[in-house]
């Protein structure tokens, strides 16, 4: 909670990013739709999708039959929240007091910024310009109370005005359906033909409270400024870190610029709000096989300007030739400079020697990311598929409950080794078997084998199999 300046007449600006749930996932404009949580109907449609004849509420099958090339996304609330927070950082350029209204709204206190920007119109002009560059669809409105700004924006009023009286006048025509009332109460109001705020005003307060309860009156009072309405301000985190996972793979490095621009805009807002300059930006690209590419991009004197940083990133990315498609990108800034020219590094301190994860990172730094990996078990009958170096979330199994195959060797050969005819019995004595493994028809690695445990003449035990063609192979040693 925060107390707010009361001398000045308060003024708020609300930004409603109506398509954020979709745009947060969309890489670029196109025919796209967001599915509902059950994955059966369209919840949101991009501008292009509406042009193509799609509309929210449509069933998937209908959507596809009207427009087969539509790109559909499942809801990803986490991603939307991230994006909203990024926008809150961005909004730091315009106001020191930003309030998050998840999932898709931002409230900015602007009364105290008017002097700085030279009036509301100037402020709005600058903001509108920056909003355009971001490329999000936005509805906006000012309000003399937080609630007024929010409701007017959501109602699509595109309003930038000052003054309590003028706002109150606009509110008169506000449809009651825009009020965030319980669905039941909405129905009741509609059911009496009460459609606009002015109609409610025409009724006696006690007639309203006896029918709809005191809560509704309270709500109306907050809306119109007759009651205070304290807000919880958004607090930017100590370091700047933005992670953006793409909904599809990126194959050209320059295609990263679009999402990057949004992140850098957020960075600019972040820096401005905290009165900092960024000196080094770490750009990490996550590749399809899980590997990372890291690019450290520095600015010797430090900068808070998004255009500068975008230019630097662009220069770097032009040199990058992607070996693999990119799944996600992360931008991180750990080194800042205050405007007072003091350099500091958040993570300059001594590492904690006893943290087991630190050892692994140290090894990875020297040997490469892929050089250190855990061994995991996979539920698959095929011997070469039943283990894995990396943790693979899809196939990871609960070791405790899974039936384990018995009689498996401690060593598995990286690839089965052909055994020539003359090595076979009697040189090799089959001890147990056959265990027939025939599985994996669904991918390209189908296996049809008979496995045996056998003893070699020197007393060692090996694991070997015969394939469907009758060839013999060694596949492991009982070490």
């Amino acid at each position: 909670m925060n107390r707010l300046a009361t001398e000045r007449e308060s003024l708020w600006l609300y930004l409603h990013f109506s398509q954020l749930a979709l745009e947060a996932q969309q890489l670029e404009a196109g025919i796209a739709g967001l599915l509902d949580t059950r994955g059966q109907k369209l919840e949101l449609c991009s501008y292009d999708a509406v042009q193509a004849g799609l509309e929210p509420g449509m069933a998937i099958a209908t959507a596809f039959s009207i427009c087969p090339e539509v790109e559909l996304f499942h809801p990803n609330p986490e991603r939307v929240q991230q994006q909203l927070e990024a926008l809150a950082l961005w909004a730091g350029s315009f106001s020191a007091q930003v309030v998050l209204y998840p999932p898709e709204g931002l409230l900015l206190e602007v009364a105290s910024m008017l002097d700085y920007f030279g009036g509301l119109n100037n402020l709005w002009q600058q903001m509108e310009q920056r909003l355009k560059r971001l490329g999000f669809q936005v509805r906006y409105a000012t309000g003399h109370t937080p609630l007024a700004a929010r409701l007017l924006a959501r109602a699509g009023r595109s309003l930038v005005i000052e003054g309590r009286a003028s706002h109150r006048q606009v509110l008169q025509m506000l449809p009651l359906s825009q009020l965030e009332l319980p669905a039941k109460q909405q129905d009741q109001l509609r059911g009496m033909g009460l459609l606009r705020l002015e109609q409610l005003h025409a009724l006696p307060r006690d007639a309203i409270s006896s029918r709809f309860g005191v809560k509704l009156l309270d709500y109306l009072d907050r809306l119109e400024g007759r009651r205070p309405d304290p807000q919880v301000l958004f607090e930017p985190p100590p370091i700047f870190q933005q992670f953006h996972e793409f909904s599809r793979e990126i194959e050209h490095s320059l295609a990263l610029l679009f999402p990057l621009r949004r992140i850098l805009e957020a960075l600019a807002g972040y820096l401005q709000r905290r009165e900092l300059l960024a000196q080094q930006l770490i750009l990490t690209l996550v590749e399809r096989d899980g590997g990372h590419q890291q690019h450290d991009i520095g600015h010797a004197s430090g900068s808070a300007d998004d255009e500068t940083w975008l230019e630097l990133c662009k220069l770097r990315l032009e040199q990058v030739k992607l070996q693999q498609p990119i799944l996600a990108l992360q931008v991180e800034v750990e080194r800042f400079k205050t405007s007072q020219q003091q350099s500091y590094d958040l993570f300059d301190s001594q590492r904690h020697a006893e943290d087991p994860m630190d050892l692994l990172s140290r090894l990875q730094v020297r040997l490469g990311e892929a050089a250190v990996q855990p061994v995991t078990l996979c539920a698959d009958h095929r011997p070469e598929q039943s283990w894995q170096l990396k943790q693979h979330p899809q196939k990871a199994v609960d070791n405790a409950t899974m039936p384990l195959p018995k009689g498996r060797p401690g060593w598995l050969l990286k690839s089965p080794q052909r055994i020539s005819q003359h090595q076979l019995p009697p040189h090799i004595e089959l001890k147990t078997g056959p265990e027939r493994i025939s599985s994996g028809w669904w991918d390209a690695q189908q296996v049809r084998r008979d496995y045996y445990i056998a003893r070699w003449a020197d007393g060692r035990h090996g694991w070997l199999f015969r394939d469907a063609q009758g060839g013999w192979y060694l596949h492991g040693w009982f070490g």
Partner: protein, 232 residues
């Protein structure tokens, strides 16, 4: 495992176990039973000592080199710290490890790029204090390095196991404990070439064969082993 150590304490208490010059020092370290009484008898302190580098010498994989260690690894992997495998010659096979009771969450496999990296890696891990055991595969002629590794193992309170070819047995080694493994129809024979706090001992047979349970069954008649056609 708990009862093994329990009985060890009992034995020590009764004074039935020979104690050498360094008995006092040994007692400072906890020993963990190997899971095989025959092997424990070979090891000073009746088990694998802490903070110690052990050399396991054998000619080819399949000589019981994992079998003798698995019970220990199973125990150690219950701790918070890592069990690190540095450049194993084959894939440590998860089903077998798990079957032996090893907690895979604590196991990490490291692949180094060069011999230098490998030694660096072994040393770092041993002395980091983050590992309960470090397993490494080293070629011949690393005597100087082995000394450093032993120091690292003590520093990091870590059990180190170096797997080397049996032909290295004639070379000098700074490892306090050197064991020679040789395959045997019933398992593996282990000879202690060198052990701190004891004399070398004659080979002992350790039953680590994968098919023991089969042959031990009386009355079953000869196992019917036939090749079954892959057709129907």
């Amino acid at each position: 495992m708990a009862t093994e150590t329990g009985s060890l304490h009992k034995l020590l208490h009764k004074g039935e176990v020979w104690r050498g010059r360094q008995a006092a020092e040994q007692l400072r370290h906890r020993c963990l039973s190997s899971g095989f009484p025959q092997l424990d008898a070979l090891l000073p302190g009746q088990g694998w000592q802490a903070s110690q580098l052990v050399e396991l010498l054998y000619s080819d994989e399949g000589s019981g080199e994992l079998g003798v260690l698995l019970p220990l690894l199973a125990e150690l992997s219950q701790q918070e710290r890592w069990v690190l495998w540095v450049d194993p010659p084959h894939i440590p096979y998860a089903p077998a490890l798990l079957g032996a009771g090893v907690n895979l969450d604590r196991v990490q496999v490291v692949r180094s790029n060069s011999r230098r990296d490998r030694l660096w890696c072994l040393e770092q891990s041993l002395k980091s204090g983050c590992c309960s055991a470090v397993l490494g595969w080293l070629p011949a002629g690393q005597e100087k390095a082995i000394r450093r590794l032993q120091v690292a193992a003590v520093e990091g309170d870590c059990r180190g196991f170096l797997f080397r070819h049996s032909r290295c047995q004639s070379q000098h080694s700074a490892a306090p404990c050197r064991l020679l493994l040789e395959p045997h129809p019933e398992g593996v024979t282990v000879s202690a070439l060198k052990r701190r706090g004891g004399w070398p001992l004659p080979p002992r047979l350790i039953p680590v064969s994968p098919v023991v349970s089969q042959t031990a069954e009386p009355d079953a008649g000869p196992a019917r082993l036939t090749l079954v056609g892959t057709s129907t």
